[in-house]
Structures are given as structure tokens and as C-alpha cells.
């Protein structure tokens, strides 16, 4: 038996390995190679040029700021929404369906939708003008209003990508037998205590997955930022795009890509370590 079955797992996993190898590993190696090659041989020129760029430190700062604000807010929002959705008796599927609609919209389309709302001649200004709150068009997304621009991007990102966290957390909540909460309730735990002492710890594996996914995606944020602010709000992926297309410098673009990957990997490693569930604590 063991001899016969030993190759089967490898055979079954082979197609996905080939697929990942061709479409992920090869471009990855190429990108890393590209980022270290300038002129002849290996060098750090591309990285020096990236780090020396006027927008670099701003892009790093903005990307981190956006991630640090958006991801925790999304997790808190999704936790609240997931708790409410799982408590629904009727219409739960409909509510969940409506809440996840933004997932079906591409990020660029989402960015453009929010642009239509927030630009000078957008719906927000029209509404405020009609209500007599403002006298004429107000710019929210310009270089002169960086705070408003930042909050506009945060808002659009919350709207666009909270649902993926929600879906993961709902799946996680459904895995927790309701007896745990009932037992806690019988033994005197109030709702908030039940949430912090029982639900959250048991939800940790799902929280970890959601956080890894959302954080990695947040470091890659691009289309929404580009649609709303252009280069008024530089982010890392945006800079990679500019170096690739506007400046036609693939080396520096590759350096940005490698930097984003390194940050994502580091964040993932942190989550895996900090939010790990010891095997003996699994239910």
C-alpha cells in the first residue's frame, strides 16, 4: 500500500506546481533578476535610484499609513458585520449577498465610482450645494487637501475590500459551535466578555487568514488611489507603475515590486508568528 500511494500525492499536486512555476515563480525570478541588473552585471543601482527618488519616502509613508489605518478598520467593521449577520434568522443570505457586492467590482471601477461621488462636480458637492452647506464646488481630492484625499481613499478602500474580510470571518464564526457561547453565557459571561474571551480566541485562525490576505493586498494598493488622487498621493505600487510606463525604466519598477514583496512577506511572517494557534488549542 504505502509504495503504491507514495507517488499519488505528488502526481496530484504536479499540475498546480507547474502552473505556479510557469506563471509565478519564473516572473518572480525574472523580476528579482531585473531589479539587480543595471548595465552590466549585478548591482544595487536600481535600488539606489528608487531610494533616491523624490517620491520614494512619501510613497513608503503613504502606503504604510494607508495599510495601518485601513486594515484595522476593516477588521473591526467586518467583525461587527459578521457578528450581526450570523445573528440574523431571516434574510441572512440576502444581506450577505448585498454586503459582498463590492467584491465583484474591479478596484479601478470602484475608484472611478468614488471619483464620481467626490470630485469637484461630483454627487457629494451637488448634494452639499443643494442643501446650502457650500457655496460652490469644493475640491476634496487635490494636492491642497491631502487629509481629505487620504480619507477619501480610506473610505473607498473600506467600501471596496471590507467584504473579503467579512466573508472569511463569517466562515470562521460558523465553525465555532454555538455551545461555547452558550456555556460561557450560563457561567456568567456578559456579551462583551463572551466576545473577547470565547469568540475572538476561537476565531484566531480565520483572523490570521483575513489579516494576511488584506495586509498583503493593502501594500499593493494602486487602482483606487490612482483613480482618486493620481500622483497626488504616491504609493509604492503606483510608483512602480510610473517607472514602468512613464519613465520606461523596468529596473527601478522591478526594484519597487521586490520591495513590495519583501514588505508583504515580512508582514505575513509577523502574522504567522503573533497570531499562531498552538495545535493543542485547536478544537
Amino acid at each position: 500500500m504505502p509504495a503504491r500511494t507514495s507517488w499519488i500525492p505528488y502526481a496530484l499536486i504536479a499540475p498546480s506546481v507547474v502552473f505556479l512555476g510557469a506563471l509565478f515563480l519564473v516572473p518572480l525570478v525574472q523580476t528579482v533578476w531585473l531589479s539587480f541588473s543595471a548595465g552590466e552585471g549585478l548591482s544595487l543601482d536600481n535600488y539606489q535610484r528608487m531610494a533616491g527618488d523624490l517620491n520614494f519616502s512619501l510613497a513608503v509613508k503613504n502606503t504604510f499609513l494607508l495599510t495601518l489605518v485601513v486594515v484595522p478598520l476593516q477588521v473591526v467593521l467586518a467583525l461587527g458585520m459578521a457578528t450581526m449577520v450570523t445573528k440574523l434568522d431571516k434574510g441572512r443570505d440576502l444581506v450577505l449577498w448585498v454586503l459582498t457586492i463590492p467584491l465583484g467590482i474591479s478596484d479601478l471601477a470602484a475608484g472611478l465610482a468614488w471619483l464620481a461621488l467626490l470630485q469637484n462636480t461630483g454627487y457629494l458637492n451637488s448634494a452639499l450645494y443643494a442643501l446650502g452647506v457650500i457655496q460652490g464646488p469644493v475640491g476634496w481630492l487635490s494636492q491642497e487637501t491631502p487629509v481629505a484625499l487620504f480619507f477619501a481613499i480610506v473610505l473607498a478602500e473600506l467600501w471596496r475590500a471590507t467584504a473579503i474580510v467579512l466573508v472569511i470571518l463569517i466562515a470562521g464564526l460558523q465553525l465555532i459551535p454555538k455551545e461555547f457561547a452558550e456555556a460561557a453565557e450560563i457561567f456568567g459571561a456578559k456579551p462583551w466578555t463572551r466576545f473577547t474571551r470565547i469568540t475572538l480566541p476561537l476565531l484566531k485562525p480565520s483572523l490570521q487568514s483575513a489579516l494576511i490576505l488584506r495586509t498583503v493586498l493593502a501594500f499593493e494598493v494602486f487602482a483606487v488611489v490612482y483613480a482618486l488622487g493620481g500622483r497626488n498621493f504616491p504609493v509604492l505600487a503606483g510608483e512602480a507603475y510610473v517607472w514602468q510606463n512613464d519613465n520606461q525604466n523596468y529596473g527601478v519598477a522591478a526594484a519597487y515590486a521586490v520591495l513590495i514583496m519583501a514588505i508583504s512577506l515580512a508582514a505575513t511572517a509577523v502574522y504567522l508568528r503573533v497570531l499562531r494557534t498552538r495545535p493543542e488549542q485547536l478544537s
Binding site: 461555547f180 452558550e182 450560563i186 457561567f187 459571561a189 470565547i198 484566531k204 493543542e280 488549542q281 478544537s283
Partner: protein, 349 residues
């Protein structure tokens, strides 16, 4: 310590009436088993007492206080769940301590009470382990220790032994009885296993179709079932029910006659398998033996009385073989007469 009064409790799920005006009083320190088949409403009733479900009508009074609309945590009770519900992310110590921590007990008190509950259930040696490392029986002990650690006035148990294997179940049953006797806690215990109910309870409430068919001491329920359902549900093998004609106070089966209540109604003779004895000369109620099963402590005979299926328990050394017709003698004082139409037992003759 507290008594429990369940006063005409009704529970409806949509148009389905799961409980129909159930009333039950459990005395202080008493152990009452709610016994019945799946879907009879016993777990629903327990969850209503716990406050995990809300009754459609009626009241639950614990220790003189109407708790009908109180949250579970304000009812002063503890519960052991069917699948234990031991928190996987906490050590055994923290599990047992959970209720005390919620009461904001001091560290010293928590330690003292956890250790006492752990000693009672023999789990001291794995207090610092996580539940995943424990066997089913050990987790069961943790669940009971967690419930007893808070020294509850009322303890509710929902099929606590049903996930254990047969041998462990027997062992835990004995131990539970001893532990709970010592604690003196008022206990309501839900089970579908009649031997568990018989062995543990001071009184058994037999439930069927959302109603309590009979409440009484185990032996009382066994010997004098109030309905056909109770007679058939309690006892192994179940009570036999033989349709008979009763004329002039005598029911004739074969050449045997039993005094019966002459009510003019269709009657069934309720006869426990062990209340019939094999007659020496083959006289008495004729019993056609179809299968003989030697069970060690007794012979289980399956066959027919007057063409109606019946099971009889005979001594292990009796000489009976399949296909034989034997005679049974029955003590008239030990039979139950059932009204065929209502399924209720009639007054004894």
C-alpha cells in the same frame, strides 16, 4: 440550594408545538431525569430552564424567584452540555475556573475551588493541559468539574454521557451519582437512555410528544407505567402488550384466566418479560417460542402469545428450544391493564 417549579410551560417553533403545558416540580437537592425519545421536547425543556430558549407561555421559578425572563447568567445555575463545550483555547484549570472568574472571585478562592472540584472528578493531574490532549471521558470530567466549581444551586445536564463508549458510560454514571449525592445539588438530567435514568435519578419524568406522561420514582414507573408508551419505553426488554377480551372480570388466554377490570373497553394486558414464569407442566398462558437468546444472566425468549409478539425473560438454565410451545404463569398483581383506545393504564383489579 433551590427547588425548581416549571409551571405550564409551552414552547412553539412556528406552528410546531414542542412543549404542551408542561408542569414539573423538582425539590431542593433532588435528582430528576427527563427521559424520552428524540424529539419529545426534553432538551427544549432543559434549555428553557437554562434560559437558552424562551418559552412561548408559562413560568420557570427557581428557589422561589420567577426567572422566566432572566438571562441565563442571572439564574444561578450551571450546565453540562452533550458535547461538553469545554473551551479548547483554555487549559483545564482555566476551564474549571471560568465560572469563578466571571464571578470575579479572588485568586485564592479560584485556586481553592478549582482544586476541590478537580479532586472530586479526579482530574488534578492534568489541570495544566489543553482539552485537545484529553480523551472523551476526561473532557466529560472537566465539563462536570467546571459546573460544580461554581457550587450552583441548580445543575442541568444534557445527555452528558451519550458521547462516551459503553464501558466508560457505566463508570461515569456510578461516579456522577456519588459526586452529585455529595454535592447535594438540585439536578435535572436529560437522557434518552432508560438505564441511565433508572440508575441515577430520584424521580424520572417520562416525556413523549411534548408532554410528561408520568413522573415518579424509577421502580414505581417501572412497575406501574401510567401509559402504554411508558411501559414500552422503560425496561429491557420492553413491556409486552397483548390484546385480550375481558368478560365478567376474567380475561382468557389459552386455558389461563386473569382477573381484569370490566369496563367494557378494549383492553391490553401489559406484561413485563420477567413477571412471567415458565410453568412446570406447560399449563397457563401459551407462549410460542421463536428465538432463544442466552444472555448469560438470563434467557431472552422471543415469540408470540395468542399470535401477538412477546418477549419473555427465563432463568439461564431453563430448558427451552425454538419452535416449542411453553406455558406461562403470571402473578395478577404484577400486570398492567391498558385501555386500548386511550393508551392509558386502568386502575388495578
Amino acid at each position: 440550594m433551590a427547588d425548581i417549579v416549571i409551571d405550564r410551560v409551552v414552547k412553539e417553533f412556528g406552528s410546531f408545538r414542542a412543549l404542551q403545558e408542561v408542569s414539573l416540580t423538582v425539590n431542593d437537592g433532588e435528582f430528576v431525569a427527563l427521559l424520552g425519545p428524540s424529539g419529545c421536547g426534553k432538551t427544549t425543556l432543559l434549555r428553557i430552564i437554562a434560559g437558552l430558549e424562551t418559552q412561548t407561555a408559562g413560568r420557570v421559578v427557581i428557589g422561589g424567584q420567577d426567572v422566566s425572563n432572566l438571562a441565563p447568567r442571572k439564574r444561578g445555575l450551571a450546565m453540562v452540555f452533550q458535547n461538553y463545550a469545554v473551551f479548547p483555547h483554555m487549559t483545564v484549570f482555566e476551564n474549571v475556573a471560568f465560572g469563578l472568574r466571571m464571578q470575579k472571585a479572588s485568586q485564592a478562592e479560584v485556586k481553592r475551588k478549582v482544586e476541590r472540584a478537580a479532586a472530586l472528578l479526579h482530574i488534578e493531574s492534568y489541570l495544566d493541559r489543553y482539552p485537545a490532549k484529553l480523551s472523551g471521558g476526561q473532557r466529560q470530567r472537566v465539563a462536570v468539574a467546571r459546573a460544580l466549581a461554581v457550587e450552583p444551586a441548580v445543575l442541568l445536564m444534557d445527555e452528558p454521557l451519550s458521547n462516551l463508549d459503553a464501558l466508560l458510560r457505566l463508570e461515569m454514571r456510578t461516579e456522577l451519582k456519588a459526586v452529585l449525592r455529595e454535592a447535594g445539588t438540585t439536578t435535572i438530567y436529560v437522557t434518552h437512555d432508560q438505564t441511565e435514568a433508572m440508575g441515577l435519578a430520584d424521580r424520572i419524568a417520562v416525556m413523549y410528544g411534548g408532554k410528561i406522561d408520568q413522573i415518579g420514582a424509577p421502580l414505581e414507573i417501572y412497575a406501574t407505567p401510567a401509559t402504554r408508551f411508558v411501559g414500552g419505553f422503560i425496561g429491557s426488554p420492553p413491556m409486552n402488550f397483548i390484546k385480550v377480551q375481558c368478560s365478567q372480570g376474567q380475561a382468557r388466554i389459552g386455558d389461563a384466566a386473569l382477573p381484569c377490570p370490566s369496563t367494557g373497553k378494549d383492553l391490553e394486558l401489559g406484561l413485563r418479560g420477567e413477571d412471567a414464569a415458565l410453568s412446570a407442566n406447560g399449563s397457563g398462558i401459551p407462549f410460542d417460542v421463536r428465538v432463544v437468546e442466552p444472555m448469560g444472566s438470563h434467557l431472552l425468549l422471543t415469540g408470540a402469545i395468542d399470535g401477538q409478539p412477546a418477549r419473555i425473560v427465563a432463568p439461564p438454565t431453563a430448558k427451552v428450544s425454538a419452535g416449542e410451545r411453553v406455558g406461562l404463569t403470571v402473578d395478577p398483581a404484577r400486570v398492567t391493564w391498558i385501555d386500548s383506545t386511550t393508551g392509558r393504564a386502568l386502575a388495578r383489579v
